[in-house]
């Protein structure tokens, strides 16, 4: 189920990358893909009926089905931050692109040259 959502979101992101001529929109599409991939990863670690992988006083008695997989969560934590870094970099670049080429629309940008 969640897999489907994430994959459809990826599809939308790719659709956005393909159709949008505005560079900012493309960056947003990339952000959507990032989010979708994160959802996908978490979904790959979900265990039906499992609990969040944090020990409290109430203890489960079996490993099987007791917790969801913590590793994908750790990975996603990393992936989110990496995504943010890349997107912030992209935003900064766009500010400069706008200054240099006067426009963010691929077809109206000035001085792009070859």
């Amino acid at each position: 189920m969640v897999y489907w959502i994430s994959i459809i979101l990826m599809g939308i992101g790719i659709y956005g990358l393909l159709t949008q001529k505005n560079l900012f929109k493309q960056l947003i599409s990339l952000a959507i893909i990032d989010t979708a991939v994160n959802v996908f990863i978490i979904a790959a670690g979900y265990v039906e009926g499992g609990k969040a992988p944090i020990y409290t006083k109430a203890l489960p008695s079996f490993l099987k089905g007791a917790f969801v997989d913590p590793l994908p969560q750790a990975l996603v934590l990393t992936a989110i931050v990496i995504g943010v870094g890349v997107l912030a970099l992209g935003a900064a670049l766009l500010v400069r692109v706008k200054e240099k080429h006067k426009n963010l629309d691929v077809e109206n940008m000035k001085g792009v040259g070859e």
Binding site: L17, L18, T19, Q20, Q26, V106
Partner: protein, 625 residues
């Protein structure tokens, strides 16, 4: 051999730095090295063999054969002459140090090509020769930069085909060694393989010696290279191609290899294909040479035609044809070298190569004129000079094989060559002397001595060709080309052909007698008076020209009689199909393809990148899922 070649290569780098201090010293060192190599050739024993080193686990062999000797000798003759010539000539050049270095490097590499005992060694030295000569070419006129690129590309086209074929051979026989490969090829059952290999190997020779489909670089490269280097290009480098063509057609046992593919008079069809290319080159070269106004380009096209003669001679698979072709290597090398050196001398003094801008230099530069005259006599194949003998031998072979179309083409080329060699003669040396060349002097002795020496050699070989025919006979014996008759018969002063024999000594004597009679007549009759083209009537003092029927000549250049000298003849093929244009189109095609790739994949916006990424992903998925 190995040590000599390597030390000469190393010396060439040293020469660069020496030339930086004084290029004259560098040029002298070059000439001394050339002289040493010349002597060295005679000290080597035929049949000796040496290992240069190992590469990819294969030994790089140097083998000294009769063919090596002959080709190296011809090369060194030309190069040595140019090296001596360059000692003075270089002061007109912009890059004397680099010229010295690359010339010596090229010399060593060319000898390496001739000494090579296996395909790989040949390739290595070949590439070094191409590289170093390719770097000399752009030192010439402005157009020469483009010329260098075209030269490099054409040459590489052939070379890479050659390389492909050599590795095909290696993967099949596990051997690069020429002698072994020749044996293996003779016994190989696979005909398509043999034909492919044969044609691909020949491609290198075709590209280098300017045979028809890859001939276009000759015009631009010979025409624009530094003037003295054109002599090396045309006289020596082109002969590397002839050497490779000789290797693949004569050294490889083609008759045995292509048994069953005989097309016509026992010539296998692959050989016949090469022969046809040679014949085409004769036509193309001759016709195009007649059209040229630039004297260097004119001789460049004549090199195409003469390369064709050499190939036709070798590809006849007949003893006398082979010998004729190989002898033509010598003749053309010397003639072309003399002609280009003569041109270099003219350019050295006049700074132009346009025939229509010159004239009347015969009085100013008589020695150059004499050298040129003898060279064109040889080139056109007129009897007393050596050029006739080789052409005659080729005709003999064609007649024996019954190839009358090719024979006709060869005759046609000969007649054409009378036409085109006469054009610079008339334009440059005869006729009226333009005013601006009033103070032109003969070139210094250091420049004309090499020319005259080559003329002398060429002349002597025309009268007494047996010394040069001796190694050729030996080569023919090595390659076992039938029929094994004795062609050079020194004791009877005869060169034996099919329809008859040629006695050069008698012919020479006849010519001497004829010349004496002509000279007698010349001295008996009154001499013509020399007038200025624009000479006004002295008596009346009016600016009326006496030669133009009352009209004053505003543009005397147009009335120079060698402007459009063969206009009528040229008009016959004014709109000729140009192979150069075809190649240009090919270049443009690749260029456009590059633009297409650039525009589709590299230029566009991120959307297109996303498109290609996802498409690739989908295609890979679709292929593999």
């Amino acid at each position: 051999m190995a040590i000599t070649l390597i030390s000469i290569l190393a010396l060439s780098v040293a020469v660069y730095f020496i030339s930086k201090l004084s290029w004259k010293v560098g040029a002298v060192i070059n000439a001394l090295a050339g002289a040493y190599l010349m002597i060295y050739l005679f000290t080597l024993k035929v049949g000796s063999s040496e290992v240069l080193g190992t590469l990819f686990g294969e030994k790089l062999l140097l083998t000294y054969t009769n063919a090596s000797f002959y080709f190296s000798f011809v090369s060194m003759l030309v190069i040595l002459a140019v090296m001596v010539f360059a000692i003075k000539w270089l002061d007109s050049q912009k890059y004397p140090s680099a010229f010295n270095m690359f010339l010596l490097m090229m010399t060593a590499a060319s000898l390496g090509v001739f000494f090579a005992g296996d395909l790989l060694t040949l390739y290595i030295f070949w590439e070094i020769a191409v590289l170093s000569s390719m770097l000399i070419v752009p030192m010439g006129k402005k157009e020469a930069r483009r010329a260098a690129i075209i030269y490099a590309v054409m040459s590489a086209t052939g070379t890479y085909m050659y390389l492909y074929a050599s590795f095909m051979i290696y993967s099949r026989y596990g051997n690069f060694n020429l002698a072994e490969v020749a044996k293996d090829l003779a016994n190989d059952p696979s005909m398509p393989f043999k034909v492919t290999v044969y044609l691909l190997l020949a491609a290198a020779g075709i590209a280098k010696s300017g045979i028809f489909p890859l001939h276009t670089w000759l015009r631009i490269a010979h025409g624009n290279a530094p003037d003295a280097f054109s002599a090396v290009l045309s006289g020596q480098l082109v002969k590397l191609g002839s050497y490779v063509l000789m290797l693949v057609t004569a050294f490889f046992p083609t008759l045995k290899m292509f048994q069953g593919l005989e097309l016509y008079s026992k010539i296998p069809s692959p050989n016949y294909f090469l022969l046809a290319l040679g014949a085409t080159s004769i036509i193309v070269g001759t016709l195009m040479a007649i059209k040229q106004d630039d004297m260097k380009m004119l001789i460049a096209f004549s090199s195409v035609a003469n390369g064709g003669y050499i190939l036709v001679g070798i590809a006849t698979m007949d003893a006398i044809g082979f010998e004729g072709g190989i002898l033509h290597v010598f003749n053309h090398a010397l003639a072309a070298a003399i002609i280009f050196m003569a041109f270099a001398s003219v350019v050295y003094r006049t700074h132009t190569t346009k025939i229509s801008e010159m004239g009347g230099l015969i009085h100013k530069m008589p020695i150059t004129f004499i050298s040129y005259l003898f060279a064109i006599i040889s080139l056109a194949g007129i009897p007393p000079m050596s050029g006739f003998i080789s052409k005659w031998m080729i005709y003999q072979a064609l007649v024996r094989k019954g190839m009358f179309v090719t024979a006709f083409i060869a005759f046609f080329g000969s007649i054409g060559s009378f036409l085109y060699v006469f054009r610079p003669l008339a334009g440059v040396f005869l006729g009226q002397l333009p005013k601006k060349y009033k103070d032109v002097k003969e070139v210094p002795a250091i420049m004309w001595i090499p020319m005259v020496t080559l003329v002398a050699i060429s002349f002597i070989m025309g009268v007494w060709p047996f010394p040069i025919l001796k190694p050729i006979e030996a080569m023919r014996a090595d390659f076992a080309i039938s029929p094994s008759v004795k062609i050079a018969d020194a004791s009877n002063w005869l060169v034996r052909g099919v329809t008859g024999s040629w006695n050069p000594v008698i012919v020479f004597n006849l010519f001497i007698i004829g010349f004496a009679i002509a000279y007698l007549l010349y001295t008996l009759f009154p001499k013509p008076k020399k007038v200025d083209l624009l000479a006004p009537h002295k008596e009346e003092g009016a600016p009326i020209n006496i030669y133009t029927g009352g009209e004053y000549i505003y543009t005397p250049d147009l009335y120079q009689y060698n402007t459009k000298m063969y206009a009528g003849f040229e008009r016959m093929y004014e709109k000729h199909p140009s192979w150069e244009k075809v190649l240009d189109m090919l270049c443009k095609f690749f260029h456009d393809l590059g633009q297409l790739v650039h525009g589709w994949f590299f230029r566009p916006s991120p959307s297109a990148y996303a498109f290609w990424t996802v498409m690739t992903l989908l295609i890979v998925f679709w292929v593999r899922w």
